[in-house]
Symmetry: C2
Subunit: 225 residues, 2 copies
DNA sequence: ATTTATTTTTAGATTAATCTAAATAATATT
DNA sequence: AATATTATTTAGATTAATCTAAAAATAAAT
C-alpha cells in the first residue's frame, strides 16, 4: 500500500524533518505553515493526511513528529536534493548559490537506480556544495564538527563547508576573495580589538576578513572533503 | 501572462506534437485520449483548457492543432527529454531501453540555464540514444535520413540509430550480438532467397541477421554521431 | 436517404490541495 | 482566576484534473 506520494506530501515531510532537526521537538502548525509558505489551515489539512498514512505522529494541538516510515522518506528526499546539488556544481559548473531551486525540483524524481548511479558518477560524495552532509541509502549521515572562523583557535586548518548568510553582497565579496565552498583555510592571526582575522586560502597569500565575515564562514575540522 | 504550465498540460502538448508529427493532421480526441492513457472526456476537457490559453487551435468536432506558442513548448519538452536520455546513457551508464521512464520525469524540470549547461556538458549532441534528433534551442532539428538494414544497398555503411520494436527477446538478441545504438554497421551481403543479411559491427567479424531482425534495425547514413 | 456505428461533447461527481473566515483550545498576562 | 492573546482547528468554498454515463454530432453502411 505504499502508494506514491505527491510532491506536496514529500515537501511537507521534508519541512517537518528540517524543522524538527533543529528544535528536536514536535513541529507545530504555524511553523510548518510558514516553512511551506502557506496557511496554518493548509498545513493542518496536510498533517492530518500524513498522519492517516502513518508517516507522521499527530495529536490535536500537539504538533507533528516523523514516524519511522516518514523519516526514511524525508531522508531520501534530502539525499536526492544534496546529490543533485553536487551534480549541478561539480559537473555542470553552477555556483553553489544557484542550485537550490533546481535541486528542489530534481529531488522529486522517482528512480532508485538513478540515484544509485548518480551517487557513483559523483564519486560517492559525503557532503553537498553547502557543506551539509549527504545521507547514505539507509538515511545515515556523519555529523560533521563545525565552527565559524571567528570562534576557532589560531593555526586551525579546515575546509569551508557553509556560509551562514544568503546576502548577495557577502557572497560576491567572498567570490572576489577567491573563497568558496571546498576551499582549504588556514587561520593565521586574530586581532583582538576588532575580531578580524587573517587567513590563507588554498595555501595562497595572507588575506584579511572582518569579524562579521569570519562569523559567517563555517569550516569543518575533520573531514577532508 | 505566461503562467507556468502543469506537468499534465505539458504532457498533453507533447502528445499532440507526437501524434500530429506522424499524421500531419489535427489530433482527434480519441487518439489523444489513448496516447495519454485516459478517457476521451478528460482529453476533451484538457483540449478546451489548452485552447483557451492559445497554445492549440481547437474547434468542436474538428480536433486540435498546435499553435506557435504550444509547438515551441512541445519542442522544448522533447529537447529536454532527449538531452536527459543522452545524459542517462552516456554519463550514468544506463542501457538505452531503460531511460524513457526517467526522462519522462526529468523533462519537466524547469530551468533554461540547466538545459543550456547540460547540453554543453554532453557535447551538444544532435541525437538521443534511440536515434531521434534533438531540437535545438529554437526548436529546429535536422531530419536524419534513415533506412532499415533490410532495405539498404550492399556495402552501405551507417550507424544504428533506432530499433523499431520493443520486444524484449529482440533487444536481448541484439545485446548478445553486441549490437547497440551507436554501433557502426557495414552491410556486406544479402541472401535473396530469405532476405537475411551479413553485416559487420564496429569493424568486427562477419555476423548474420535474419530478415525480421534486419527490418527492425534502422541506420542513418549521413550523420556520424 | 435512412439507419447504424462511432466519435465527440456535455453534465454532474469526485479527489487533492488549497483558501478564508469563524470557532475553539491553549497559553500568557494582569 | 479572569482576561487577553496566540495557536490550532473546523466548516465551507474553490480550482485543477479526473471520471462515468448520457446526449449530441459526425461518419459509415446499407
Amino acid at each position: 500500500m505504499a502508494s506514491e506520494l505527491s510532491f506536496t506530501e514529500e515537501n511537507y515531510l521534508k519541512a517537518i524533518y528540517h524543522i524538527s532537526a533543529e528544535s528536536n521537538e514536535s513541529v507545530n502548525t504555524n511553523a510548518l505553515a510558514e516553512s511551506m509558505n502557506t496557511t496554518p489551515a493548509s498545513a493542518n489539512d496536510m498533517v492530518k493526511r500524513l498522519a492517516q498514512k502513518n508517516l507522521i505522529g499527530y495529536q490535536k494541538y500537539k504538533g507533528a513528529t516523523l514516524l519511522t516510515k516518514g523519516k526514511k522518506i524525508a531522508l531520501t528526499i534530502v539525499r536526492k536534493h544534496r546529490l543533485w546539488e553536487v551534480f549541478l556544481v561539480d559537473k555542470l559548473g553552477f555556483k553553489w548559490d544557484e542550485v537550490h531551486e533546481i535541486a528542489e525540483q530534481l529531488e522529486h524524481i522517482k528512480s532508485p537506480s538513478l540515484i544509485k548511479r548518480l551517487d557513483k558518477f559523483l564519486g560517492f560524495p559525503t557532503m553537498d556544495p553547502h557543506g551539509d552532509p549527504i545521507p547514505n541509502e539507509d538515511g545515515i549521515m556523519k555529523q560533521t564538527r563545525r565552527a565559524s572562523i571567528a570562534e576557532v583557535a589560531i593555526n586551525t586548518r579546515g575546509i569551508i563547508v557553509a556560509v551562514n548568510n544568503d546576502d548577495t553582497l557577502l557572497l560576491q565579496h567572498l567570490d572576489s576573495l577567491g573563497i568558496k565552498l571546498g576551499s582549504r583555510v588556514g587561520v593565521l592571526e586574530r586581532m583582538d580589538f576588532d575580531g578580524s582575522v587573517s587567513i590563507s586560502i588554498d595555501d595562497g597569500p595572507k588575506q584579511f576578513l572582518s569579524k562579521a565575515v569570519a562569523e559567517n564562514l563555517m569550516i569543518t575540522l575533520t573531514d577532508t572533503k
